[in-house]
Symmetry: C2
Subunit: 203 residues, 2 copies
DNA sequence: ATATTTGTCAACCAAACGGTTAAACCAAAT
DNA sequence: ATTTGGTTTAACCGTTTGGTTGACAAATAT
């Protein structure tokens, strides 16, 4: 071992690759731009990650690993559905503000290559809906919730939270607001969406 | 070999370009693939549309022109909010089944180039939310609806309807269902989503 | 019939792309 | 002091890309 494990370059590359891939997607990203942003020679990209595909997969898995815990919070936690809805909508907005390109990046790239998710599904920590479904059935039996399928409720929660960020240019144009007003509208949604869902499902 | 009155070529090109662009996006699309699919020489693409960018814009505007009337139905119609929600959720699913790649195509490409929507905003027929907002205020005053901002309600309606199609690979993986089950779930949503929204907003 | 315009194609082109190579570099081990 | 082996670089390579050219055929105008 000649040098003291110099993982710095590898990290610079991954950070630069994150930015470029998440902003431009696999097809739009250029290896040269990643190298420039990481301030290293283009050959280093291949030295550390062999190919564009493998570098991309490193970035993608990294991004997905950030998103998964957010979802597991609502799927595997032991609190009530109502509590889950409140905490999830609250947390998710803060999360997206930190990683603005992340949700649309994941969705866009999975649309480009839907088979890719199979590689992720096997890994532990991949969100699983079974516990959530049982909980919904139970709370309906207990007369807490109106009848609804767990799958549909989960899709609705995801949709109301994720969609405005994924489709933000469209939403801004339709609602006819600028970036500042949009940001405020999203902050308002922290309580707005939770109330909306709870009104919809509570008896 | 030109046959009798051949404006047909231009249409073949546009149809092929629609398929390729909507499936692979601007960056992933290849002019050669479009030419092959249209069964014409690659030079014809430039003869009729000058550049990849202009061909793409033709496809994009065409796609947007299909989506806009769907949204105007909920924004400018004279029926009640409840009726609008029911008819929109009902119609939208049928629409997406006919044009599966369309919503994610529009969203993806606007994320890639958000400025592009400014070109569309000027055109007449571009969805405008003002009438809808006034209607929401009115129905709240009349005691029909619970208090909610028109913008938020509109975003929620869009989200619940559009999101599952835009994020279909993700949804399929999380809910752990195959294509057939997903299709069924989407059909169920025709009534499911309408009920969900109405429960959430009706007094 | 002849000339002009429009439509079509095969061949070609320069630039950009992802990836490779071979040599230099440098800190630790001998 | 020399060897060693991971690290870095400039130059290079084959392929693909969007786009162009020039010749030519078909349709239309004269």
């Amino acid at each position: 071992m000649p040098k003291i494990k110099d993982t710095d370059t590898e990290n610079q590359i991954l950070n630069a690759a994150k930015k470029v891939f998440q902003e431009k997607g696999m097809d739009g990203a250029r290896m040269q731009e990643i190298a420039d942003k990481a301030k290293i020679n283009k050959s280093m990209l291949h030295y550390y990650y062999r190919s564009k595909q493998l570098l991309f997969e490193a970035v993608f898995k990294n991004a997905f690993a950030l998103l998964a815990p957010q979802l597991n919070a609502i799927l595997n936690d032991d609190s009530s559905i109502e509590e889950k809805v409140i905490s999830f909508t609250n947390n998710y907005i803060s999360f997206v503000v930190k990683h603005p390109y992340l949700p649309s990046f994941i969705i866009q790239e999975l649309n480009r290559n839907p088979k890719f998710i199979l590689k992720l599904k096997d890994q532990k920590g991949f969100p699983n809906i079974e516990k959530f479904k049982k909980q919904v059935v139970l709370e309906i039996e207990q007369g807490i919730l109106k009848p609804i399928k767990g799958e549909q409720l989960f899709i609705n929660i995801l949709a109301l939270n994720i969609f405005p960020f994924v489709a933000s240019p469209l939403v801004k144009a339709f609602v006819n607001i600028n970036d500042t007003e949009f940001k405020q509208l999203m902050v308002d949604r922290k309580t707005e969406v939770a109330n909306f869902i709870i009104n919809a499902i509570k008896v």
